[in-house]
Assembly symmetry: C2
Homo-oligomer: 224 residues x 2
DNA sequence: GTCTATAGGCTGATAGAC
DNA sequence: GTCTATCAGCCTATAGAC
C-alpha cells in the first residue's frame, strides 16, 4: 500500500510538473507578444490569457502577479544577451572578434525580435527592473572590454576608440533591425525581411565598425 | 452698440484663444512625458491631467480622446524629424552632408529625448499611426537619397553602399542616445550625459559612417 | 472655459466549487 | 490543476451645474 501510494504520488507529481511546465511556457510565450507590443503598463493579463488560450485565473495560478510574469520573461530574454557577451578576449584578433559579435547580434535580432522589443521598452521606461543589471554586470563587462580595446590599440591592432561608445553603437545598429522592423521594411520596400537583408545589415555594420576602428583586411566571422 | 459688442466679442475670442493655446501646450507637454514613459496603451489621461495641473475633464474638453492627444503630439514630434531630412543634396560634399546629418540627429536626441522615445514606442508597436508616413514620405525620401548616393559613388566620391541600410544605421546610432539613455549613463558611468558625451558620440558615429562609406579627409559640419 | 459627479467598462487579483 | 463568479479599483469619456 505504501508502494501504491508512492507510485500514485509520483505519477501525480510528474503529471503536475509537465502540465505546469507546458502552461508556464504557453504563458511566457503569450506574454512575450503582449509585453513587446504594449509595454508593461499597456499589457493586460487578459490578453496574455487569451493568446495562451487559458482562463485568466489560470494565469494567476501560475504567476501571482503581472510583474512576476514580466520578471520570469526578462530572465529568459537576458540569457542569450549574456551569452553573446562572452567571446571578445585579448587573445582574439580584434577584426574577427568584432565581426563575429556583430553577426551574432544581428542573428539575435532576427531570431528573437520580441525579446529585443521588450528590452527596448524596459530601457525606454528607465529600466525599473534591469537597473541592477545595468549598474553591475553590464557596467563591469564594458570596463573589461575597455581594457581589451586599450591593449589592442597599444599593440597597434586598432585605433584608440571608446569601447563604451563603440558597443553602444553596435547594440543600437544591430537591435534596430528587431525593434524598428516596420520602419525598416518600409524603407527597404519589403513585405518581410529576408536572409539577404540581415546579411546586408551585418555586412555594412561590420564594415563601419572595423573601418571606424582602423582595422583593415578580411575577417573570418567568430562563431560561438 | 454694434461696435461695443464687436469689441467685447473680439476680446472674448482673443482671451479664449490664448487660454486655449496655453492649456493645449500644457497638455501636450505633459502627454509627451507620459506617452514616452508608458507607451500609448499604458498612458492614462489622469496622469496627463495631473502633470498638466488640470482636471481630467478639462483635458477631455481640449482633446476629445486620448488618441487625439497622441495624434496632435505626433505632429509636433515629426516636424523636426522632417526638417532634419532636408539638406543632403547631390551638390553637397558627401562627407560634409553626412557629418552634418549625424550631428543634427545627435543634437535632436539631446534636445528632445522624449520625442525620440515616443517615436520608438510607435515603431515598436508596429506604427499604427505612422504607417502612412513610413510608406509615403519616408520611403520616398530614402529613394531620393539612394539616387544621390549612387551619383556620389559614380563620381568616385564614396563607395557604393546601400543608402537605406546606411540611414537605418545612422538613425539607430543617433537615436539610441535618447531612447536608451539609462543604459548609456550606466555604461559610461555618468549621472547625466553632458555635452562631451554627445560630442564623443557624434564623432565616433561620424567616423564610422565616413570610413564605412570610403570617404576620407576632414569635413566641416553642415549646419542647417 | 472650469469642474464635480458619474456612467459604464475593463483591470489585476482572489475565493471557493469542482 | 481548472474555472466561474466576483471584488475593489481604475479607466476613458461625458453630462450638466457654474
Amino acid at each position: 500500500m505504501a508502494e501504491k501510494r508512492q507510485i500514485r504520488k509520483s505519477a501525480h507529481r510528474t503529471g503536475n510538473r509537465s502540465v505546469r511546465m507546458r502552461n508556464t511556457l504557453k504563458i511566457l510565450s503569450a506574454a512575450e507578444k503582449v509585453f513587446a507590443e504594449k509595454g508593461f503598463d499597456g499589457a493586460t493579463t487578459q490578453q496574455i490569457a487569451d493568446i495562451a488560450k487559458l482562463p485568466k485565473s489560470n494565469v494567476h495560478y501560475y504567476f501571482k502577479t503581472k510583474r512576476d510574469i514580466y520578471l520570469a520573461l526578462m530572465q529568459s530574454i537576458m540569457a542569450p544577451w549574456l551569452e553573446s557577451f562572452q567571446a571578445i578576449s585579448v587573445d582574439d584578433d580584434p577584426g574577427d572578434a568584432l565581426a563575429g559579435y556583430v553577426k551574432r547580434k544581428v542573428m539575435l535580432s532576427r531570431e528573437r525580435p520580441l525579446a529585443s522589443r521588450i528590452f527596448a521598452n524596459e530601457m525606454i521606461r528607465g529600466a525599473p527592473v534591469l537597473s541592477d543589471f545595468l549598474r553591475n554586470e553590464l557596467r563591469k563587462w564594458v570596463e573589461e572590454k575597455t581594457q581589451i580595446v586599450k591593449q589592442w590599440s597599444e599593440k597597434g591592432k586598432m585605433d584608440d576608440v571608446s569601447a563604451a561608445h563603440l558597443f553602444i553603437i553596435i547594440w543600437a545598429a544591430t537591435q534596430t533591425y528587431a525593434d524598428f522592423e516596420v520602419q525598416i521594411k518600409s524603407v527597404l520596400g519589403r513585405q518581410n525581411l529576408e536572409t539577404d537583408d540581415y546579411d546586408a545589415a551585418a555586412e555594412l555594420i561590420t564594415r563601419m565598425v572595423l573601418r571606424g576602428c582602423g582595422i583593415h583586411g578580411d575577417h573570418k566571422v567568430n562563431q560561438t
